[in-house]
Amino acid sequence: MSLDDSAARTPSGPTQHHPHELRRSVGAVTATATSAGLAFAAINFIGVVSVATFALGSSAWLAIAIGGLISLVVSGVFSELNSMWPTAAGVRLYISNAFGVRFALIATFTYMSTVILVIAADAFLIGAAIQHLLHEPSALAYVWILLLLLIATVLNLRGIKIAGRVQSVVTYVVLASTTGLSIVALFKPGLPYPHPFAVFGNGALSGFQAIAFALFLFAAFEWVTTTAEEARKPQVITRALFIAPLLIWFAATVFSLALTHLVTLDAAHASAYPQLLLGSAALGRFGEIWMLGVTVLTAINTFNGGFLVASRFVYAAAREGNLPRAFARLNLRAVPWLAVIVLAVTSAVVGALVFATGEWLLLVAVGASLEAMVFAIASAALLKLRRTDDRVRGFRLRGAPVVAGFGLVLFAILALASGLSDPKNPKAFSPLPALVVLTLAAVSTAYVYLVVPRLHRAAAARRLAARASGEQTRRRPPRP
């Protein structure tokens, strides 16, 4: 019996229809804000600079438009997959039903590492921006990073999370503010726009790299599928998946046009806070403070959403026996405290590495490669599930074999292109981002093949020992 068609009966006999409307459910506006808010982080400002670096002249806008169009393929793929399994555990379910439980675990563990990368990157970028605005010694940037992570950790441990409505307002304010300041900047006299259509002007590889970085600007918008269980209607998530990329595309495009209009690429490329440079060039000190405010606001969504998604994923994995049981321990506010602390410490370490090496652009390349890889896996999963799973879908992607097949090939190329990019030089080649991604995947694979079986064996042994000692038997009374 399905939920929708049930004329359910009560145990006492009479039948009644119940719509199962939730008291608090998420509508299209909130879901769209969630989707856009998860994607639009402080690292996006650096991402726009990466696009502008790899696309020749002032063609970043075109690369972003192509990235936006490609993200609609992702919207279609995730909409259909989400309509099959509308649950927070969706990504795990899509991949495990298509390719098996082990591969799903490897993919999701690797996927979750992007959350740590984004949290660390945002902490670093916001710390650097605050330090710049206050004219403090550069070493103090790391103090700001630690302070931001500490605040986020304490709020999470205390179970304080930003309400959906507040998160929506924050997202729309961030997008509107970024767009507003960028439009003001466009009216200022500035640099010309040479080669506006030359995305591939630096060579084919650079062109693909520019598009991969452009796609990264939309990264994580698909995480809105984790809220599917609280959506008012299944279509809410589909709408969010198609509308949010448009909002991100518009804000990123106007920002890229304004940035290349008022700030030289060299200056933007050398800076961890190009948005502040744009604010300053457009409106002086006021513009700088404006963009710092926008940057800090992005952190609310990143830290709130990132910590919540990742710590609950860790909790679920520990409860399932795929991570040590300690990660499922809850404090008195029902927060998996060890998961939150480990996430914060890992983010602080990654943030320290970025701070020490100055390689913040590497995070963009790694993130772009990881995200494109996940999109390729999702496309492949849809292709497989179309052949092997005939369950009813609330949304069917038209021309799925062609669209998802195209997505699979394209995302694989983009993952490779960004993985082999030298973030500091569009004409050079560097395997470093790919090495970082491969290392993360290798660690996940080794963990799933070597550690997880041991955890499962230990859990089975514990249960056997408990039964043998008579401590734990089946509590349910046997049937007469």
């Binding site: 019996m1 939920l3 049930s6 359910a8 009966r9 009560t10 145990p11 006492s12 009644q16 119940h18 199962h20 409307e21 939730l22 008291r23 608090r24 399994w85 649950t87 927070a88 555990a89 795990r92 379910l93 999370k161 984790t226 809220t227 269980e229 609280e230 919540l308 609950r312 909790y315 679920a316 409860r319 399932e320 026996g321 499922a328 809850l330 008195l332 506010r333 029902a334 514990r462 249960r463 408990a466 734990q472 089946r474 509590r475 349910r476 009374p477």
Partner: protein, 119 residues
């Protein structure tokens, strides 16, 4: 397939286990929700009214507007309420379907975890 009497018996035991667990009551003190349950195999419906972490009542049928709707088969409900299974793997496999916020879903699992950590 479990009978309605078996589900009720399991539910009664679950209510006692929840309401007498001090740590759980403290953890759930800020959690007040109306839960609806649907047995997908028998069509049986029941509700659970939780106020400040205490299960106030578990009437048959659906009462009020739910914060959470849980759907699975009657056997799984019985095993879950008796603490004989860990609900999380079944949720992750899609065998238990829940409508509600992620936070509420975690809270429901946390109840089982706190009462029966070795299930």
């Amino acid at each position: 397939m479990a009978s309605w009497d078996e589900v009720q018996e399991a539910l009664a035991d679950y209510t006692v286990s929840c309401n007498t667990n001090e740590r759980l009551r403290k953890m759930q003190r800020d959690w007040s929700r109306m839960l609806h349950f649907i047995c997908s195999d028998t069509g049986d419906l029941f509700s659970m009214d939780v106020k400040a972490g205490e299960i106030i009542s578990t009437p048959s049928g659906h009462v009020g507007v739910p914060d959470v709707v849980v759907t699975t088969d009657s056997e799984t409900f019985c095993d879950m309420f008796w603490g004989d299974i860990n609900p999380m793997p079944r949720y992750l496999r899609g065998e238990i379907q829940v409508r509600g916020s992620q936070e509420d879903i975690m809270r429901i699992d946390a109840i089982s975890y706190v009462i029966w950590p070795d299930a």
